[in-house]
Symmetry: D3
Subunit: 129 residues, 6 copies
């Protein structure tokens, strides 16, 4: 039993490491992209942020929309980003799996491998930092 | 002015015709697909219906998810179908355009032509039958 | 009952018209593309033909592969072309619907509208010319 | 011979009609989208225009980039739009077919049906208005 | 020569490790997805299994269809899974490369990187466990 | 400051390692694919090379076209390959970011994660071997 406990702790650290790694690489490279000072890219990044702000639809709904769109387009990094935003918006795991269900029905079984990784990342986000 | 009125009425009829045409073809061919009695297709159709039922998330949210997924995957007929469901769920035009915005930001300008057709169909749905 | 008979005949003609139209436009524009004398395009067209020739796998299997690939990539004209080839290879309707099933499971419900049109075209091909 | 001449003229009119139709529908619906006054969509449209302006790369090159991107993503209306821009930039037919070649090699034979329609539209643009 | 032998053995172990890793992660996360008890996902997984069962078409053909569909949609994990199923169905390497050929012709050169990884995994499957 | 210098050198080595790794794996597996002696694949590879040769458009332009197509189709390995070719064609970083801009506007924010990796690889290519 101790071993299992140990395994669990190790797993937890590995998982949180994944969250950390994703965030750091994303931040580092976004900074690099901004430094290049391409006006179109800069404005697109800015517009991307605005898209998910509260409006006729609340941020929570928009983040769900962003997530499902990322899932059917099968972009793992986009999925991770929107999972983080959904986590901040207090989306429950039951709600999350219903988003997964829509993505898999609309996009088909090719979405499954991305759902596996999404589920793993979602679990990682629930863990204490 | 009378001419403009006339034009408007004609346009309205043409639009509603589009809604009718879409529904009839969809119904006819779905019936054809079911007649073929392929178990996998039948169960997938059934599962598709279940996906959008009230659960942890309400049907309204799920239909928005289905719509945005259809938009970024650029499937005009899927878009029309989910527009109809969104219309039944009393989604407002302001909300609809925020869904359009998410789809266009995530999926890029190649989503614009589908957004044009979606906007036209959405307007058609608002018109008296 | 006579009316229904009449409707059926009319539908049949409309259907066969679709087959004819597709073939004519395809032939006309392929000819136009070849006239442009672009070496890469010409060789790609040639290679495309070779791909489906009997080899370790028979043409029949390869045409099924070409069809399912066209379905999940949702290219209606490619689907029509491979449906014609499958028809020539004496693929049965039961087999065809199992190909449809694989395409819809792998590619998701966004493949359904293309399956509707595929089913319609498949039926048209069965009809006397 | 006279008949052929006649056929040719009729074809020419049909073709130019296609160009006209595309432009009118596009303009009408873009206007409709703008009227909805969604800030994200408005700014995206604006950004889209800026993207193709002369910069480190000239407009001509950027329009070729936009076209090839539209072709591999298989968006017929986006293709038409960029064909028009390429036409304005005096791209030759030989150059155009090399763009087609890249699109078909990168994107595969599923790009062929879109290339057929692109070739037809390109020919239509060459004709006297 | 001994070194080369050694290199070969090491490579073999690394390869088999890849097969093992893929299977373990897939199994672990599928279990996680099932635990979430989302009815739609559970039924979709079940339906996925049924899709490839002997019917009008034999499992062997259907697995080839599933593979080519996964290749043109460029989902590496789906490709690996179907490669394993094809291996179980005694598909030969010559047949496999003809499937690769169809996928690359239909889907274009963007399928090549996935074909590289598919070829590597296919070779790994041939090796003694 | 010395530490930062050290970090920079280490980073540089890691980066160049990425370039080396990509090239080696690509070369090794391309060789493997050719060994299988599938005529269609061999001719497609050959045709792929021809596509980017000087013609009505110069290689430089064609490589930009190949890159933007790879970006909107979101194939990281294809992107790396075309980045290398663009580097050989002396494309500047300002030009490169305008290609990135077109890809992100046409393909949407799902292209951003690929742009991050592309920017990193592009920087790596600038570094002394």
């Amino acid at each position: 039993m101790l071993d299992k406990q140990h395994d669990k702790t190790k797993h937890l650290l590995v998982m949180n490491e994944k969250v950390k790694e994703f965030r750091e690489y994303r931040e580092k490279m976004n900074k690099r992209l901004m430094e290049a000072d391409n006006l179109v890219l800069k404005r697109l990044f800015n517009l991307d942020t605005n898209t998910y702000m509260d409006g006729a639809l609340p941020t929570k709904t928009k983040e769900m929309l962003g997530l499902v769109a990322s899932m059917v387009l099968r972009c793992d990094d986009c999925i991770k980003y929107h999972l983080e935003q959904c986590f901040k918006e207090n989306i429950t795991t039951a709600e999350m799996y219903e988003i997964f269900a829509v993505a898999n029905i609309v996009g088909g079984t090719i979405v499954i491998p991305h759902t596996r990784r999404a589920a793993e990342y979602w679990d990682a986000l629930q863990e204490p930092a």
